[in-house]
Symmetry: C2
Subunit: 202 residues, 2 copies
């Protein structure tokens, strides 16, 4: 029984990982469920034992991959005390992810935008959690008196996410053939800029 | 002859304006050329006298509307001398556009993202010009010694665009029914934040 469940989990994960590559290569609208099945090495019908539709694969992929990213990020941030260090680290880690997993990031930043309507109707939970990671760093810094208190965390977290996401988008669009700038260098520069805006007046 | 050309221009403009509303309502992928024709009050075949395809309508719409926006923006910025004032004003004007023309901004920010593949292949000229407006303000401020010289304009302009665009996206997705925050208030807050990061050390 345990091994059957293991094999189910394994198959599901293979389908999700295959979908990342097919969506990245063909685009969400251009991708066919049969291509995902082929890439995962399962029969077409098998996909529908796990997912209702192509949209459902995209939603699941998004929620699961984002949950992993958030977990990793929170573990890293938990090792740091200083809100400034956390903010810098968050920015660098986001950019490292983009540079290190271009296919996944293409799906999360480009293909997901293609289904803006779906974002509208579905309002992804994992995205809200991701924004909360940024918002929490800001609020912690505000409580400690390190960051300015007059910044609205709900506006700030979106603006910061947008800034990083736009840079990510440019990297992803340049494609795997392009040479990406060093994510740590770019991240430190942006972090430095952001912190100047964030610091409370002495 | 002049009046015939006038009528051609007028019809073309009516099609573009109709496309803004149809794309905003149905989404780029969901919209049909026949619906655009109906909204513009022209026969289906007439569309193809002006545009090769639905993609072509989107490209033309984007290039023309962006050219108008850039022209207006440049006229406003030309009345200002101080790079700080220009930067603030640019941010506020962008957000005012979003609040004032929600359908157009939905097409420019949401629907255009749906054709990310098209952005990839087409690399919109008007977008490059728009980014150049931001880059030019930064470079002017750097030359005058007001802004830090160690910021790379090509990274900064994308990061700033991303921050503003993400806030715009949230507004657009909230839909015409939602109450939007005052664009001037939000713009001033973001401008203030950005300028803290930009200012050269005294």
């Amino acid at each position: 029984m345990a091994s059957r469940r293991g094999s189910r989990e394994d198959k599901r994960r293979r389908i999700v990982d295959a979908a990342v590559h097919v969506f990245a290569e063909k685009g969400f609208f251009g991708a066919r469920v049969s291509e995902i099945a082929e890439a995962a090495g399962v029969a077409d019908g098998t996909i529908y034992l796990y997912f209702k539709s192509k949209d459902d694969i995209l939603i699941s992929l998004f929620e699961e991959k984002m949950a992993e990213i958030i977990k990793q990020l929170q573990e890293i941030l938990a090792t740091l005390d200083d809100p400034e260090a956390k903010m810098r680290r968050y920015i660098v880690e986001h950019l490292k992810l983009v540079a290190g997993q271009p296919h996944l990031m293409q799906v999360l930043t480009v293909e997901l935008r293609q289904s803006a309507r779906f974002i509208k109707e579905y309002s992804p939970k994992a995205f809200a959690k991701y924004l909360a990671v940024i918002g929490n760093i800001l609020e912690e810094g505000q409580k400690k008196g390190i960051f300015r208190r007059d910044l609205d965390p709900s506006v700030f977290r979106r603006a910061l996410f947008g800034a990083i996401d736009e840079i990510s988008l440019e990297w992803v669009l340049r494609g795997p053939g392009g040479t990406l700038p060093d994510p740590v260098v770019v991240g430190e520069t942006i972090g430095d800029f952001i912190l100047r805006g964030l610091r409370a007046e002495p």
